[in-house]
């Protein structure tokens, strides 16, 4: 069962396609991190999922219901927090939380109090007088206190100081296991330890979507060293990103790249096909390194698809 599923979901703003025929599956119970550079279409995708905008084509399912009809009772089990939401600023933290309580049959006062305490939220203060981080915490408290089956977070960590990020991630961790989380973020370091699945979007396309473990295994920094100086190959396999080779100077016998489909035996064999007898040294990558590599690898020039790093 998928908590989120999209079928050729497309959103165009006049001539600009913000989301293009996107097929996404987020399994129930997973923590799905949606990554991508600015303008990749992450926020548009999330707004489509939350029925804040309507798709140009395709459809999306949220907890088994059509996202285009998501409202009222359908939102009793879905939490949503976004960095650029207009909160009711005139409310105090206390009135903000107490206003939402009756809307949710499963609102948990004890969890609310725990979150308020964890986030150190000043109950008597108006939201407009709070810092951005504190406002996010208040929003997150209101989105977590009813034990949502699914929580959708759009850049919740953007621009926050590390201490606040830690608080927010801990708050999220409180519901780990019982809740599906879809999270878009630039904060690769935080996601690394938190997400179970990861997706990478660019130019409205989902270029990668898989479990974190698979990403960690698949992506490796490769370095090779030969006995003799290496020659630049005529072509480089598509699985190699950021390929560099030293053909002159003191280190003229080395090359490095990022392998996107690492397998100890096959990767070595492929390297030897290209360079002959070489020794291959593979090292693990952080998520940050993986996505920087993907981003630097450049956006697909081919409008019909481009690379799918799957």
């Amino acid at each position: 069962m998928h908590a989120i599923e999209t079928f050729a979901l497309t959103k165009r703003f006049r001539r600009v396609a913000a989301v293009r025929e996107l097929n996404l599956e987020v399994g129930e119970g997973s923590v799905y991190a949606l990554m991508g550079p600015n303008g990749a279409g992450k926020t548009t995708l999330i707004k489509l999922l939350m029925n804040l905008i309507s798709p140009t084509a395709g459809r999306a399912m949220m907890l088994g219901s059509n996202a285009s009809q998501l409202q009222g009772k359908g939102l009793e089990t879905i939490g949503y927090v976004s960095e650029n939401q207009k909160l009711p600023d005139w409310m105090t933290v206390e009135s903000f939380l107490s206003y939402w309580r009756p809307f949710y049959p499963k609102w948990d006062r004890a969890l609310e109090q725990r979150l308020v305490k964890r986030f150190n939220l000043p109950r008597k203060q108006k939201l407009k007088h709070l810092s951005r981080g504190m406002r996010m915490k208040a929003a997150l408290t209101s989105a977590l206190a009813f034990h949502p089956r699914l929580i959708v977070l759009d850049e919740p960590l953007s621009g926050l100081d590390p201490l606040v990020r830690d608080d927010l991630m801990e708050g999220l961790a409180e519901l780990a296991g019982e809740t599906t989380v879809l999270l878009s973020s630039h904060d690769l370091a935080e996601i690394d330890s938190f997400a179970s699945h990861v997706g990478y979007m660019d130019e409205g396309r989902l270029l990668l979507s898989e479990p974190m473990t698979s990403v960690r295994e698949r992506f490796r920094k490769i370095e090779i060293a030969g006995d003799a100086p290496l020659e630049s190959p005529a072509t480089v396999p598509a699985e190699w990103l950021q390929f560099t080779i030293n053909t002159s100077g003191a280190n003229a016998d080395g090359a490095r790249w990022i392998e996107t489909g690492y397998d100890a035996v096959r990767s070595l064999a492929r390297a030897r096909e290209v360079f002959g007898a070489v020794e291959l040294r593979a090292s693990a990558m952080t998520l940050r390194e993986v996505f920087l590599a993907l981003a630097r690898a450049g956006r697909p020039a081919d409008a019909n698809g481009g690379p799918q790093w799957k």
Binding site: K47, M50, N51, L52, I53, S54, Q71, G72, K73, G74, L75, E76, I78, Y80, S82, N84, Q85, K86, L87, P88, W90, S95, Y99, W100, P102, F103, Y104, A139
Partner: protein, 520 residues
Amino acid sequence: MILHILRKDLRRHCWEIGSFVLVCAVWTWQTSHPYGWVWMHQRQLVPILLFALWFILAVRAVQGECLVGDREFWPTRPYRWPELLAAKKLLLILCLNVPLLITEIVLLSSAGIPLSWALAPGLLLLQLEFAFFLTFPAWVLATVTETLVQWVLTIVGIALFAVLVSWLPWNLLPPTLAGGENVTTILMAAIVIPAMVFALLWQYARRRVWPARLVLGAAILAVPLMIPIASTTLARSIAYPRVTGEPPMRLSIVASGPDGTREYTRGDIGVTQSVITIPVAANFADSNSIVGLEGYRVTLTGDNGWRWQSPWLNHAGQLTSDWPGVSFGFNMPFELANQLAQAHASARLELAFGVYRMGKAQRIDTAAQSFTLPGVGVCSWPQQESGAIWVTGPACVAPFRLPGAMVEEIQSGDNTCPLDDGEPPLPANHRAISFQYGGDDLPVDFDPNPVRSFNLWFNGWEPVIPSVQNSKINRVAALCRGTPLILRTGAMSGKMSAAFNLGSVGTEKRVAGDPDRADP
């Protein structure tokens, strides 16, 4: 949940609500103390402020849960839209209509109108009118705009569009009658109201603003297209269906010439146009009917197939068995007017009119300090000069609106007014009559002040009573304390049209310039 949202909104908009209630109170005091307002030049400011706050509160309350944009917080929360809609409606009733209702009750009471349950339907209708004509359009526009500023700009845009439309050469269209305009208004409402209902429900149910904006925009653009319909035969025939059977009166041309001959009046405007006036008298089969004239068209036919027809023309006035005379005037090309004099023409008059059925005459004793006009309101005699204006006769007030038609009559033999110096007592068998008309379009007048003020004034005695002191002037008819008043009230029973063959128009009587079109 409705009450939960309502409580939140009451807290959220407490300043706007407080300000509105305060301005309501000031306006109530100002209206009930017309001469007590010190800052006279600021009198108009209070009602403006009252309605400005009305709109501000309505718009801000609706936009509290804004239905435009994709950055709103509330649409991602489990609101049920019918509950949200109901909560907003309840808020607007509670914060706008209830203060207005209290204001109206206070104004009725302070005007001397006894409070009773009989006033409840009128008060309720007035609230419905304000909810429908003010709150509803403001609410609909608030659902398709994001901020108060955007809402104001939309209103300004609509106003500019109206100005632009008013500059179109509407004078090229044939003249319209009030009934035809009513048909147009109904058509406009039939387009705009469903569009507004759609936009409101669509926005709450779907929050997809462009279809709602398109529908509203199309409805507004379609409104001017309805205006030409008012002058069409179809609109006129819908507004004034032909009388089936006998019309309530018969018409004939008055034999006003020397030796009892028929005569019409002609005056020339320059050398291109003439104004023809035909004097007509009505003969009523039922003296309890009053005919309110709204428009007419004259067709003249003469020797050798000569024929001329006027366009439909507006005419305000009434015909009663007590007041049966009226003149119908129309412009005619100078050359045709010359031909008319030779054509031995007959006239056919098509008349569009409303018929008021009057109730029984009631004799009112006016001796008390204040007296009741049954079915109308209350009158009271001034105790002293009130303010700057000295009031002749009793000052009367009615709740919500005056009856469709009201005829007041006094008899010279019963008159109790003090005699002017040197004047003998009034002779008997003279009477003075006054007509007053309320509106017929809405159940109650669309006015936040529910008190209608009117006076019982009379033009003069019929037949006239010349003054003994100065034969050039006639004695004035006035209602004085103790003079019995005969009152009849009635309501519009329907609008209709009828054609009358008046026979020969008679001979021409030339007058200089434009002859007076007033009733003889």
